[in-house]
Symmetry: C2
Subunit: 331 residues, 2 copies
DNA sequence: TTGAAAGCGGTACCAG
DNA sequence: CTGGTACCGCTTTCAA
């Protein structure tokens, strides 16, 4: 690889001048600049970003840490990050923690080694203490989809408990009294939140414990299918399914159909997330909106911005809302 | 930020020793090692990956260039890349060219500046000449979903023309004679391929031009919906829709339903890609399999492997296949 | 406007 | 086993 000195030699100038040209430095003679540029083009010289980064540690770059880019929820998050990064021409370093053995912690540490000063992380397994340490060490550390009081200013989160209540109330108000709740089996701190809140709310309303059937499976299409199988096999009666997320809900509808049960005539279904696809399923999916893309945009702006402390809590704390479509109906 | 020399000073040893410890160097006294490790932990020292990269240019890292991570097709591709990278503990630098103004070229050049020696790129707009140049400059450059003869050894691609014929033949064999083909409006070299081949094949079979209605729209759920609207509005009669991809197909089914047309009873639909979701739609989607994840895995192995020239053409050239489900039926 | 030289954080070679 | 030193590719004073 050609270096700056090679170029300098070829152009009969000093490395300093070449450096100035590369960085659009202010004080270079028109002659010299032209000559140098010509050589650069000719040789096909590309500056070494690593060497540049060694001096000036202020790279415009954001690291992403998330479990799995293939799940639509996370690819929507990545897309939000990308939009902000793209506008600012910032690099993106992606770490899918599920794919890596050591996972989240290793991912964060690698980003630190590369001196990333901005990172947006969705942590499923790290404990509060560790995250607090990271957040305090790295000013541009933003924690997504999780709220830790001690570093609240660096969190962007959804009031998940609210979503849990919301969907329960919705189902209840629509006259349903026998529920199945599909819960995620992932080791995700707080994954249980929406489930617990729904159940609590219903019980507080006087629903009997045995009228709330809980099925645990993976938060995927397949998981939703299996959950319905297990549910039917269990013999519990139910008129409404509250799924952990849209993928499970879609999988559920698919298996309900296979079992000869129609949505929403026989069983009403509520998802969670409001993925793009939710609007295009048949029937269209009633769900709880999780504005992940908007949240990712805010998080990335915070991570990349210099005055991150200016973002009000009201802009960091998001609220879920019901999206009414046709997979759910009154009993 | 603490440097290696800070640690050395604090431990009363030389920088060399610290360096050896960091890299699990072979010749360090147990005493010294312990002392150094202790200080490192205490200070919270993190080696600077950029400085390391300046010497040893062989980083284990792969760059991704693709249009848009949010489309399921591309997130499946990213997922494939991730799996291989994760196993090898390689970094991933992601560039979504749509989000960046200057797009693909800029993305590739940034990767070069960072001395990435492995990259997997899906290029939609760059011309052959430029890509050939890149491929020849960077040994670990792998071009995905596109085949350029001159750099065939660095391409991983699907025989798209075959897919175009396949679905046409399938529809024809099932007795359909009036078709609508939904085509992508994206500036993607070769995006038209599957459309052109389908049409050609049908015409060769004696289908009249006016019995093949072409609608051009974006390759998304919404695009599929609009395409159906336009199609219906056009007054053409049709019994089968060949959609550019699964997303359009799903959008199409959704709008057909809204128009009171049932799939497959009134209209049969074929998608393209075989996304995860295809199995869970209602009706389940008949489609052309594009094994993008498997392809991405091969591409990444090639990009990251040292003996990349060993991969046979048969492993780089993939073939589409029909996946029969219920959205398509005999006339 | 230009060049020489020091330094950024590490690595690696060579003595000791 | 350990330390000294030169050097990686580039930027940035500081003089000239």
């Amino acid at each position: 690889m050609a270096t700056i000195r090679d170029i300098a030699k070829a152009a009969g100038v000093s490395a300093s001048s070449v450096s100035r040209v590369i960085n659009n430095g202010p004080k270079v003679g028109e002659e010299t600049r032209k000559k140098i540029l010509a050589i650069i083009k000719e040789v096909g010289y590309t500056p070494n970003a690593n060497a540049q980064a060694i001096n000036d540690n202020q790279k415009l770059a954001v690291g992403i840490v998330m479990p799995n880019i293939q799940q639509p929820f996370f690819s929507a998050m990545a897309h939000g990050i990308e939009q902000v990064a793209g506008q600012l021409n910032a690099q993106i370093m992606l770490h899918s923690s599920e794919a890596h053995e050591q996972g989240e912690q290793e991912a964060i540490e690698t980003l630190m080694e590369h001196r990333y000063q901005s990172m947006v992380v969705h942590s499923s397994v790290l404990d509060d203490e560790k995250l607090i340490r990271y957040a305090q060490t790295i000013p541009g550390f933003v924690l997504m989809n999780r709220h830790i009081e001690a570093i609240s200013g660096q969190c962007v989160w959804l009031e998940d408990a609210e979503g849990g209540r919301l969907r329960a109330k919705f189902a209840f108000d629509y006259g349903h009294r026998k529920y199945a709740i599909f819960c995620s089996n992932r080791a995700d701190i707080g994954a249980q939140c929406r489930f617990v809140m729904s159940k609590q709310w219903l019980i507080a309303k006087g629903i009997e414990e045995h009228d709330i059937c809980t099925i645990i499976d993976s938060p995927t299409y397949q998981g939703g299918r299996r959950a319905v199988q297990d549910l039917v096999a269990s013999g519990h009666s139910f008129t409404a399914i509250l799924a952990h997320n849209d993928e499970m809900a879609i999988g559920a509808m698919s298996m309900l159909e296979a079992q000869g049960l129609s949505t929403p005539d026989d069983v009403s279904v509520i998802g969670y997330d409001d993925l793009n696809i939710a609007e295009f399923t048949q029937p269209q999916l009633t769900t709880v909106k999780y504005p992940i893309e908007a949240m990712a945009i805010v998080a990335t702006q915070m991570a990349l911005s210099l005055n991150k402390n200016q973002v009000q809590e009201s802009q960091r704390k998001f609220h879920p809302s019901m999206v009414l479509r046709s997979s759910f109906c009154r009993l």
